[in-house]
């Protein structure tokens, strides 16, 4: 398993697509978490909601060091999750497209070891990107505090650890979901397409009917996006609909349930991937 993990990390770190995804991830995190709130605070923004005053003060408060634990993960249920899913698909789907899957399977490791190596590599990369996001966001929050002449007050270390852990769980769930789609569809394009349509469109559309259709209201409590958003909400990110609410964040279920459901998704995605990998022929 360690040999497969070593091989996966070796080839992934040399893949431009990985670094592009990471770059987009951190840039979006900085834009939405720090640049736009700061511009709102300074009154540079000119949209209909750019009223300044109370909302500007709220915006800047989330961009200060004290808001790091929640602001850094605010985008995880939505754009970072989508990017993580794309990364997950790429780690598997490309192997089928390039037919390297047959070479991997004839090198020596069991198929289960190959899967474990891929899962391990994705989890390591997700943890690395989450930590990188916290470091860059922390630096950005210091800069914002300095430019806005605000006092620097960091959140408790335990809150940051919870933020890192919760954020890792959210994006890992999406990334392993992408891997699962890659195994299921044995390719990249359809897997990415279906994954993004579900994460960005279908779930949100279904959630819109949750208040009027009780079955959907019950079902949505088990959707991956709902639970990702709920875990982020439990870690302090304002839910959508509330003042300063964030798209993709919901308080539909408790943080504990969200963490359990997300962990279940991790297990299910890996489990079904293992079954697919072991039972299917490599044509």
């Amino acid at each position: 398993m360690l040999a497969s993990l070593n091989a996966e990390l070796f080839k992934l770190r040399k893949r431009t697509a990985l670094w592009l995804i990471v770059a987009v991830w951190v840039v979006l995190s900085l834009l939405f978490g720090y640049v736009f709130p700061y511009l709102s605070y300074r009154g540079i923004a000119a949209g209909p909601g750019a009223a300044g005053g109370e909302s500007a003060a709220r915006a800047i408060s989330s961009a200060l060091p004290g808001g790091l634990a929640s602001t850094a993960i605010a985008g995880f249920p939505l754009f970072a999750g989508a990017l993580a899913m794309i990364l997950g698909v790429l780690t598997v789907g490309s192997e089928y497209g390039w037919q390297t899957v047959k070479v991997m399977f004839t090198q020596g490791p069991r198929r289960g070891a190959v899967l474990a190596g891929k899962v391990g590599a994705v989890l390591v990369i997700m943890l690395g990107v989450v930590i990188l996001t916290f470091i860059l966001d922390g630096a950005a929050s210091l800069l914002v505090a300095s430019m806005a002449d605000k006092a620097v007050s960091w959140p408790a270390f335990g809150d940051i650890l919870r933020g890192v852990g919760g954020g890792w769980l959210i994006v890992s769930m999406w990334a392993l979901g992408g891997m699962f789609l890659g195994f299921l569809l044995r390719g990249t394009a359809i897997a990415v397409g279906l994954g993004l349509v579900w994460a960005l469109a279908v779930e949100n559309l279904l959630r819109a009917f949750a208040s009027t259709i009780s079955v959907i209201n019950w079902l949505q409590k088990f959707f991956p996006g709902t639970n990702a958003g709920s875990l982020a909400a439990a870690l302090g990110v304002p839910a959508m609909g509330a003042d300063g609410g964030t798209p993709g964040i919901t308080a539909a279920v408790s943080g504990t349930q969200a963490a359990i459901v997300l962990a279940c998704y991790l297990v299910v995605f890996v489990g079904i991937s293992a079954i697919l990998l072991n039972r299917r022929d490599v044509a």
């Binding site: 040999a3 497969s4 070593n6 091989a7 070796f10 080839k11 040399k14 893949r15 431009t16 490309s94 390039w98 037919q99 390297t100 047959k102 070479v103 991997m104 399977f105 004839t106 090198q107 020596g108 490791p109 069991r110 190959v114 022929d281 490599v282 044509a283």
Partner: protein, 309 residues
């Protein structure tokens, strides 16, 4: 089993719905030989090889490869593989592709340089795989197959897409591997290639093994063709020398089942009898003739590229 036979299949069958891609195949590959697996496109060669490697599961029958089940991690470290076209990561260099696969099989990076040297790609090892020519890709594929310095090499159409010089190099390399003690299974639809390289040959058509043996066994005894005038008198003299049963007529010539030492004697007797002998030469049947003899395959599906080795 692993005394003599590295590969043994018995009644191996793979069905896709009603279609039998491999049909009750009995195959044996012995230690140290270069085994030619010959058949037209779609005959079932690649499916058979995929079964041997555990990539595809057989519908029925038994398979043992290096005394293990197909795809068994105990056996795979001793098997090098090039299945169909070489498959690599296009964004990595040739060297990094090999390093990636070396990590999967726990082979040190130093071995990567050795195999690059063997396939003459050391100078181009730093180029991206996507920029390689078809010939370079195939050579890199062979390098990957050699990474583990395996006892058994399974090469599926390794000369596909190569130019004549590349084909020559590849064949030379395969023969060298055989001389170095590797057992090689060479799948090909090129009759000339198999005839030139292989010790034993298995012929497959429509999923069935239709003939198996050494090249010499399959080709049988060579016949001596004699073109002489008058032919009837020549036939009488030759029949007296080697027996009438060993003399056959063929298009204004005689075909003789004779020993190599008979040729000089026959020539001398005919000339002494005043018969004009215009041709006297040995005819060996090619694998191509044998293949078409034992199958109904249309000739266009097999290529008789000889190449210069």
């Amino acid at each position: 089993m692993v005394g003599d036979n590295l590969i043994e299949t018995h009644a191996l069958t793979k069905r896709y719905g009603e279609h039998r891609a491999v049909d009750r195949l009995d195959l044996t590959v012995r230690r140290g030989e270069i085994y030619g697996f010959l058949g037209p496109n779609g005959a079932g060669k690649t499916t058979t090889l995929r079964i041997l490697l555990g990539l595809v599961r057989a519908t029925s029958g038994t398979v043992r490869v290096l005394d293990a089940e197909p795809g068994d991690p105990k056996a795979l470290p001793n098997i090098g593989v090039l299945i169909e076209s070489a498959a690599f990561y296009p964004y990595l260099s040739g060297r990094d592709n090999l390093r990636t696969f070396a990590r999967y099989c726990k082979v040190p990076d130093a071995r990567v340089e050795e195999v690059l040297e063997i396939v003459s790609l050391t100078d181009r090892g730093g180029d991206k795989f996507a920029k390689y020519s078809l010939g370079m890709k195939q050579r890199l594929g062979l390098a990957a197959a050699l990474l583990k310095d395996p006892e058994l090499l399974i090469l599926d159409e390794p000369t596909n897409g190569l130019d004549p010089a590349g084909i020559t190099d590849m064949r030379r390399l395969i023969r060298k591997l055989g001389r170095d003690g590797h057992t090689v299974v060479l799948s090909s639809h090129l009759l000339g290639e198999v005839q030139q390289i292989c010790d034993r040959v298995g012929m497959i058509a429509r999923g069935k093994l239709v003939r198996e043996g050494t090249v010499d066994e399959l080709r049988g005894t060579a016949t001596l063709e004699v073109v002489a005038e008058p032919l009837a008198q020549a036939r009488e003299i030759v029949a007296q020398l080697i027996g009438a049963d060993n003399v056959m007529d063929a298009d204004n010539a005689l075909r003789l089942n004779a020993k190599p030492t008979d040729a000089v004697r026959i020539n001398r007797e005919l000339v002494l009898a005043g018969i004009a002998v215009s041709t006297l030469h040995w005819i060996e049947r090619s694998l191509e003739e044998i293949f078409f003899e034992v199958t109904d395959e249309p000739q266009a599906e097999l290529t008789t590229t000889k190449g210069g080795v």
